[in-house]
Symmetry: C2
Subunit: 254 residues, 2 copies
DNA sequence: CCAAAAGTGTTATGTCTACACCCATGA
DNA sequence: TCATGGGTGTAGACATAACACTTTTGG
């Protein structure tokens, strides 16, 4: 950050000790899988503005905590989940007038959880709900503030990160079948994936999934018991232009 | 954003009208190519704290402008570049104590330009400099505040975005040779790329570069004149797990 | 003519897709 | 034993990396 710089040239009109005051909030987009679809945790606002409208959970940052700690605190308050849940900062929003009361800049985090369903069911159903993201994206559910845009950005982030980071594993349990993991990819990307090829991609690629010896029990209709895996380091860097590591360093060609 | 929500349950200890006040600043990491290496524009701080130390340009956000507008304004102030330069928000930083004077949250932007060299040379050389990013990353140049981390994050962002967005084109002129473009990839990724294969990747992939009929004049040592291209829409979504669009929708396999 | 850089051809190797087929289970 | 999903095999299509070769310039 830092006040205006550049020596004495071009004074900025800002005295470092007289800066415009902002409220800083942290909002958390909480995503989870339910019913094979991507869902979003929303809370109903109890106070003006936008009273009674759905919004993503959030609150003021405290001067004594980091942004990440604030996000973790909000997540724990809303869901009771205290763990090292996957929390990713993905954007800051500060348009003038986005909050009619005052100047607010919000820093948005993405949290990926499993089993939020139980959490929501356990809390007061009137003011917290798990809704399909599609309904938030297409406007079926109207959101307070600029939260519609924030949710759009969050979903875009998940789509892009899914195959580059281990974020997919956060949607499923500590151990999971490849069918479960595949469902995450299918829901987030909105496509159908071939189970056979998906398995090969994911088990071939180093560091994605680690087989536990165990197998899951099949569901009602039977079927071969699926292998159970746990998450690996999951890291992958794909790219249209391949990096080459030739024997001799080459420049250009010829 | 939004005050604490969730009906009347669990009052937060925060009155919406009595929020902690923060200064919000916008910092811009300005990257450019020089001497076939990735460079970074730094300014020397003229005021405490960190007086005399190098820092990335930045300044207070005004309540009447968006974060993006603030970044654009800072960029223009520092470089004179007013154009629709590639400006990407990539992070927010708000650790307590990151600014010893007050509570500051900064939103960081990445700007990619060409020809910053001329701009820097034109200004007072004592308080602005173009330095290789490697020197900022390895600590050869010590930066004020948490700017070292901000620069690291910016470079990481460019590395990831290079082949997914059109950001590479922002490093070169409105028209460019493929050798110039390749130099960007090589500098940012720190690799050597085969010129022949690079050309194929980039001209085959739809929407990356568009041939102008013209050719560049070869340099001193001669060589065939290179074709001049301009940037296309440049978009690409690569992924380790392929999306398939089968004739019939399939689920799983069998 | 020579060196240097741009651009094209070529080939072995690897990866991906689609789908056939086998396996293990519940009912 | 039948339906259902899990898991393996595989052939053709396609993409990639490495490098030989041709083209076009400056000196």
């Amino acid at each position: 950050m830092g006040t205006k710089t550049r020596g004495g040239r071009a004074p900025e009109g800002y005295d470092p000790s007289k800066f415009p005051a902002f409220a800083v909030t942290v909002d958390v987009v909480i995503l989870t899988m339910a019913d094979s679809r991507l869902h979003l945790l929303l809370v109903r606002r109890g106070v003006a503005p936008f009273k009674g409208m759905w919004a993503i959970p959030g609150g003021f940052k405290r001067p004594t905590e980091t942004l990440g700690e604030a996000a973790k605190r909000e997540l724990a308050q809303e869901t009771g989940v205290d763990s090292a849940a996957m929390l990713t900062q993905f954007g800051a929003y500060g348009d003038p007038g986005r909050d009619p009361r005052m100047n607010v800049v919000t820093v948005a985090y993405l949290a990926v959880l499993r089993d939020v369903g139980a959490v929501v069911a356990g809390s007061d159903a009137a003011d917290a709900a798990l809704v399909p993201v599609s309904e938030a994206l297409d406007g079926t559910i109207e959101l307070a503030f600029d939260h519609a845009k924030i949710v759009r950005d969050a979903v875009e982030r998940v789509r892009g990160d899914l195959d580059l980071t281990g974020i997919a594993a956060a949607f499923v349990g500590p151990t999971f079948t490849l069918a479960e993991l595949r469902t995450v990819f299918e829901a987030v990307w909105g496509v159908q994936l071939d189970g056979a090829n998906f398995r090969r991609s994911v088990v071939t690629e180093e560091g994605w999934v680690i087989p536990t010896g165990r197998r899951a029990r099949p569901g009602a209709p039977g079927g071969k018991p699926a292998e159970l895996f746990r998450a690996g380091r999951m890291w992958k860097y794909s790219s249209p232009i391949r990096r080459s590591q030739p024997n001799e360093r080459r420049k250009g060609n010829s």
